[in-house]
């Protein structure tokens, strides 16, 4: 279906990534946001607070990030599309509820505008240190989807995609921004509502009798209903059967949790998105995401000028990771260069897929600024020599 024109501010704007993310969410149909102020994500909720009263949305500033990350789930079960927004310390507080959303298959969006950590770290400065936390931060086993915009335009576009994927797979989706993308101001084009494709909630359309809230179809995703529709649904974070009733057995655990993981894993080909530039025929491939994908460009240009065959693969989905593509490239090229603003997170995924078939070189950065492109260039030149 197409976006509701009521919320869509069609036009060209000069806005930052945080504001663009807010507009993307609104265009996607988000009408409930709960959040708690934290730099560098606050502008997202500030824009929601300003925009929502006049378009029928509800923004509530909760008492903390724990409350925010579960208030949105209450709102989803009442029928809203809902989102919360935070940065590192708040993201840590939200982890239990990321797990709840995964376990109860509550479609919702978490935005993390990454800053340098650990702990309070560098509140106003960039990092990409929450990438593994996004995937593994809540206890137990589960799967999520995480997207990485590298511009305000993409913050808008991927906010819409995040909501669409959440509905498609009944899963929490994480929009992993970074401080640079959140705070950089660029041209953002918001298309007319009738050009914005929206995935509606996959409500059950069959007879009420015999409906099971956690009985999945072929794509492993169960249809959903909402509170107040007369289904007497039960939703629990305990291991549950297809009715949603708690069952404390290894067999129930195996059936439920395997499906929660498989519904992302087995649909990975449909979910995974990346952008390639001159990867065909390349000897070296730089794998990057977020702001670092833009910082890498001068390094790539320098290397190409010097005759090196260097390609660029930019992750749009960090999770699920494009394992298949990296594995395939690893049999053809000399090496990968992975710059990221941490001491080695997504590079572990690259190494896992490469499995020793080619070289992998991390370009680490502790956070607080972006890389010097010279360091990325040096890694490209270095990995080529071996």
């Amino acid at each position: 279906m197409k976006a509701d024109p009521k919320g869509v501010m069609t036009g060209a704007y000069f806005i930052d990534g945080d504001h663009a993310c807010a507009e993307g969410a609104i265009a996607a149909g988000c009408r409930f946001v709960a959040g708690y102020p934290i730099t560098p994500s606050t502008e997202v909720v500030e824009r929601m607070a300003e925009r929502f009263p006049l378009i029928g949305g509800m923004f509530i500033q909760m008492e903390d990030e724990i409350a925010s990350s579960i208030a949105i789930q209450g709102a989803v079960w009442a029928g809203k599309k809902a989102m919360t927004v935070t940065s590192g310390p708040g993201f840590s507080l939200m982890m239990e509820h990321l797990g709840l959303a995964a376990m109860t298959e509550t479609p919702c969006v978490f935005v993390d505008v990454q800053r340098a950590g650990p702990s309070t770290g560098l509140p106003t400065l960039p990092a990409q240190g929450d990438m593994m936390q996004a995937r593994w931060g809540s206890h137990g086993d589960y799967a999520i989807i995480a997207l990485c915009p590298n511009s305000p335009q993409e913050a808008f576009d991927l906010a819409i995609k995040a909501f669409n994927l959440a509905e498609q797979y009944r899963v929490p989706v994480l929009l992993m921004m970074d401080e640079c993308v959140g705070h950089m101001t660029e041209r953002v084009v918001i298309p007319p509502a009738d050009q914005i494709e929206i995935t509606p909630r996959r409500y059950w359309e069959g007879p009420q009798e015999g409906f099971l809230l956690f009985k999945a179809g072929k794509d492993l995703v169960p249809p959903i209903v909402k509170a107040g529709d007369g289904y007497n649904i039960h939703v629990t974070g305990l291991t549950h059967d297809e009715r949603g009733y708690p069952v404390m057995t290894p067999a129930a655990q195996e059936k439920l949790v395997r499906r929660l993981v498989d519904k992302i894993r087995k649909n990975a080909d449909a979910i995974v998105e990346y952008k390639e530039d001159q990867v065909e025929g390349a000897e070296i491939v730089v794998v990057s995401y977020g702001i670092t994908s833009r910082v890498a460009i001068p390094a790539l240009e320098q290397a190409r000028k010097e005759g090196m065959k260097v390609g660029h693969l930019r992750l749009i989905t960090a999770w699920p990771f494009p394992s298949k593509r990296i594995r395939e490239l690893s049999t053809k090229i000399q090496g990968f260069v992975v710059p990221e603003i941490n001491y080695g997170q997504m590079v572990r995924e690259v190494e896992r897929c490469v499995a020793g078939r080619s070289r992998v070189r991390l370009v680490p950065h502790g956070g607080g600024s972006v890389h010097d492109p010279k360091d990325i260039y040096a890694a490209i030149a270095g990995v080529r020599k071996g």
């Binding site: 409930f32 903390d64 579960i70 208030a71 709102a75 029928g79 809203k80 809902a82 629990t236």
Partner: protein, 291 residues
Amino acid sequence: MTEETMDTDISMPTNTVEDFLRMERLPHIWCPGCGIGTTVNCFAHALEASGLDLKKVAVVSGIGCTGRVSGYMKLDSFHTTHGRAIPFATGLKLANPELKVVVYSGDGDLTAIGGNHFIHAARRNVDMTVILLNNFIYGMTGGQVAPTTPIGATASTTPYGNFEEPFNLPYLAESCGAVYVARWTAFHVRHATKSIKEALLKKGFSFVEIMAPCPTLYSRRNRLGDGLDQMKFYRDNSEILNGADTKTLGLTFQGKITVGKFVDKDKPTYLEAMNAFYAQKFGDKFSPYKG
């Protein structure tokens, strides 16, 4: 025995609250003598008496023995995370104001780990009913000290007795903004039922505390006998004092218990306040938020 007589035998008198329960989930997990089931009975009768459209009633629990209540109610029911039933309920209610949202959980869940959410929901006067079952202990995890454990009472993590000042819950609720505050014990079945009904029909943040026996952990460890002994204690030591000053309602170990309805006042709910404020601010540009 013929089939005909068997049929007659099966049509035994049924409990009138069966319609409110997920009978297929019984027997429940609660211990013999536990007071939670008694309060569920009160809740079901209060729902019946309230005349509410049950399709539009949702019950939200946190974690713990009382947290299991949501799973037994034949309503839209949500068993959330430890301490977070209230913020979940806040989202549910604000997203669909047509719903009657009830939070049903224990003292540890709602006032220790969930204490911050409790005070803020009361402050905002979010339209919800909070039924708090106070058994003075963490039951599910084996009887640890709670923010409600009276001074001198023994718990597994206060083996020499508790010396921390406990919460006076009606006072806490009133001072944070609750518009309806009552306290009963599991002995006061009719009073508790009436209070829950009133709370369900009250607009705003309504709060009902119900003290209940935990014979397995609290009573046993403190040598207070079984569930029945605790009910007798409630009968002999409770004083009904409607309208009592909530400041005076602190509880002591096996001391006198003041029960009653203490607060019943009117104040705009979160949504009423928001709609009125924005209507004034934006005039015609604003249409009242209806979810």
